[in-house]
């Protein structure tokens, strides 16, 4: 079986060509063979997977199944999974076994997915390269000298190397879309509030959003049908009707108005990425869409605003990791202050500490107005820019990242350059909009093939249209079918 999309797997399972248990064993053996190279998984849940697979087969036999029943999935290790280690790729939670399931996990379990394990990530989702993980860097399956992107790098690498059929990710500033672009897979970030955050370990609460990482837009739609929708446990999750995201996948793109942000084509964008984008736009035009340039005049402020708001929220969100109730506690603390200082000092990695300090500083008396309040004002301006743009166009298309995947260690000493890699994705989080990265080319300048992603951004809760546009592109191109040699 070469095309292991959900749609294809679901067909094979339905026709009895393969059972979920067989499929699961196959994935488990692939993980056993290849994970040591990619380091995509922190935890493999073999027993759980086989039990869920057997149950899925039983459900299929009883006719109680949906498209995801029996499909092997991997969860980013930021999602709480009951009775399973949930580390957030941190020493701080290196021993944390969650007593409960995240809503996303619960819904996917109920749909009959088979949990293969928990994927590696940047520590507490802070990073764009997956190098900040306490459990070591993840390698890009297209070129193991390169990073898979981050923070959902483990999930993107696992999908790209087919160490799982589908995976969950989270996106605070590009953490689904950027690794999807680097690994040549489809990564979908829904609107803020579309999916419950209950059980998703918080990085920046007003920006974090869960979403699918998979092999096609159609797979993303199938996952969205299961995980989207209101949750009484999350006050910020919106109680709006959830459409069937697969129902409109084949709608025509005739008359679709595409906007390309002038600012995204400016200085800093790699040649190959720009070329791939132009080719993709031609495809859309051939499908009946019109393309025009639009303005996002405040986009250049997005990275600065983000690196105030996100660390500020993170500085409070991570206060609970204090060594008192669970997680890492230092050896033999002499008193309370010593316990706090050493537990946190030893339990958190450098990037996490950096962001806690930045956030603490930004919220401090005397600096709050200059940093936090100003960043919130910029956030409103960025949202207004998008609102204005969406008055003229239906979807905004641009690059996901300025370049293809960089080398492991290449940007470690320069956090600001690393932060600027997220220049096209961060604004979308600040505005709370849905965005998807889809494969749109392969670069070969480095000697190895490296995926190029383009980003499609939709209006508030415009998930269905966005998936439709992405799916139509994939119906007329085969970039998403390209796989690295594993």
């Amino acid at each position: 079986m070469s095309d292991r999309t959900v749609a294809a797997l679901s067909r094979s399972l339905a026709q009895g060509e393969v059972s979920s248990v067989e499929l699961t064993r196959d994935y488990l053996s692939r993980i056993a063979r290849h994970n040591s190279v990619y380091n995509a998984y922190i935890t493999v849940t073999e027993e759980l997977a086989l039990a869920q697979a057997a149950e899925a087969d039983a459900r299929r036999a009883r006719g109680e199944h949906g498209p995801l029943t029996g499909v092997p999935i991997a969860h980013k290790d930021i999602f709480c999974t009951r009775d399973v280690l949930t580390t957030c790729a941190s020493k701080m939670l290196g021993n944390f076994v969650s007593p409960y399931d995240a809503t996303v996990v619960e819904r996917l379990n109920a749909a009959g997915t088979v949990t293969l394990g928990k994927t590696n990530m940047d520590e507490f989702a802070m990073g764009s390269s997956n190098e900040t993980s306490f459990f070591g860097a993840v390698r890009n399956p297209w070129d193991t000298d390169r990073v898979p992107g981050g923070s959902s790098g483990g999930s993107a690498a696992a999908v790209a190397a087919d160490l799982c059929a589908i995976a969950t990710g989270t996106d605070t500033g590009g953490s689904i879309r950027q690794p999807a672009a680097f690994c040549g897979v489809t990564g979908f970030k829904p609107s803020y509030g579309r999916i419950s955050r209950w059980g998703m370990i918080a990085f920046a609460s007003s920006l974090d959003q869960a979403g699918p990482i998979c092999k096609s837009a159609e797979d993303a739609a199938l996952m969205m049908n299961v995980i989207a929708g209101a949750d009484p446990k999350d006050s910020t999750c919106v109680d709006a009707p959830v459409p069937d995201y697969t129902a409109t996948l084949n709608d025509s793109l005739k008359g679709l108005r595409i906007g390309v942000p002038r600012q995204h084509l400016a200085e800093g964008l790699g040649k190959e990425v720009e070329q791939a984008l132009q080719e993709a736009l031609k495809v859309f035009e051939s499908l009946g869409a019109t393309v025009k340039e639009i303005d996002l005049p405040n986009n250049h402020l997005s990275v600065s605003a983000y690196y105030v708001v996100a660390p500020a929220e993170a500085s409070a969100n991570l206060s609970r990791f204090d060594g008192v109730r669970y997680g890492y506690r230092c050896e033999n603390p002499v008193n309370l202050e010593d316990m706090y200082k050493r537990s946190r000092g030893e339990g958190f990695g450098a990037e996490v500490k950096r962001r806690i300090m930045v956030g603490t500083y930004a919220l401090s008396a005397g600096y709050y107005d200059a940093y936090y309040l100003k960043a919130q004002r910029i956030r409103r301006l960025i949202k207004q820019d998008f609102d204005k743009a969406f008055a003229e166009v239906d979807v905004i298309i641009g690059p996901t990242t300025p370049h293809t995947a960089f080398k492991v260690g290449e940007k470690n000493d320069d956090p600001v350059t690393m932060y600027l890699e997220d220049i096209y994705t961060i604004g979308v989080n600040l505005a709370g909009l849905p965005g998807v990265s889809i494969p749109a080319g392969l670069s070969s300048t480095s000697g190895k093939r490296l995926p190029i992603g383009i980003q499609l951004v939709g209006s508030d809760f415009g998930e269905a249209r966005l998936l439709n546009v992405a799916h139509q592109f994939q119906q007329h191109t085969d970039w998403h079918l390209q796989r690295p040699e594993v």
Binding site: S235, A316, S319, R320, D322, V324, L363
Partner: protein
Amino acid sequence: MVWETVIGLEVHVQLATKSKLFSGSSTTFGAAPNTQANIFDLAMPGTLPVLNAEALRMAVKFGLAIDAEIGRRSVFDRKNYFYPDLPKGYQVSQLEFPTVGKGQLEITLEDGSTRSIGITRAHMEEDAGKSLHEDFQGQSGIDLNRAGTPLLEIVSEPELRNAKEAVAYLKKLHSIIRYLGISDGNMAQGSMRCDANVSVRKKGATEFGTRTEIKNINSFRFVEKAILHEAQRQIDLIEDGGRVVQETRLYDADRDETRSMRSKEVANDYRYFPEPDLLPVVIDEVFIEAVCKELPELPDAKCARFVEQYTLSDYDAGVLSSSRALADYYEQVVGICGDAKLSANWVSVDLQAVLNKQDLEVEDSPISAERLGGLITRIKDQTISSKIAKTVFEAMLESAQSADEIIESQGLKQVTDTGAIEKLVDEVIAANPEQVEQYRAGKEKVFAFFIGQAMKVSRGKANPAQLNDLLREKLKG
């Protein structure tokens, strides 16, 4: 030098919701440690708050009761600090946009005059857990049962001018929250806690002096004593050429003194910012009207009605309306016996004395309103005298019998039969010829002696008015 004390109070009231402010855990007091803390209360990673609608309703109710501005859009904020009994490492509170804005409270002073005290705001926040420093061999135990219990922090303007006013304010607040049913206001159990900001200044000065904050005073009496002590300490300090340092002080009831806890100068920077896990709370007219309809008659309105409807004195009406339960008890008694004045005396004097002595709330009164009403009915219809009524009242404390049953079984019925009283009077006159002589010689005082003798013989049951008339007549000779 004449000094003036300036006091502002911050009162934390625990709202009487069944579950916590942001989680479904129970709020019952006194459960075994950590049995009322779920994964949210323990700040497990990935958990999120959901606002308890009942707590919001209670806060709005309080706002309406003090005629305050209701925040149409209130915002929760995170107040950041590390402490083991604060599981999240931040407390969710309201800084800039509280649910309840400016309002006022009318207090009655000892001379009967009233003053209106401004309330700056009342905001919702979650309580912390408890650290237990004993019994753990040098370590501390943490009990998170209380963590997340809803609090309403009510902040007054610095408009109170002496300790007695502060107590009057606190008592009024206590009465209102109990009327509204939003808290049991139990200070000993900590469901009402008071911090006092105290400063002194020269009488007539317009600038405030440097204030200190006295923390966690847990009874009305201690509020008065702590403020008196702290004001005097500040006056002595200034008069000796020193200066007051802004700091937090703790009142030690055993020694009747305040002592320094920590200096505000090294206080935490709480790094408040809006809580991103909760949406702003938008309160509309419909919600406010609905809460308004639930408002009971409040102490001031009830007091005015008692004066008007039952022609009580301001004082009696004030005492009887001080608690909703007491007022309800009183009105039930009046409803049974039909005598407002007699009922007022019995409830506010006799019954209240018993309750005070036994340290009981009126809800737990050993004599129900039905029984007391029955007793007063018998005074009114002259079945017993007021004096005998005291005996019946005492007997009621010892049994569950009605007044009628006690009167019957102990034979306490008043004698109103003229023949019987006449016989009694004749006996007393015959037995005391010497006193009869004295009376007839003009010694009016001796009359009381005869009344006493007659009552003694009748064991108090003779109708006093009839006895009086007959004695006078017979003594004339």
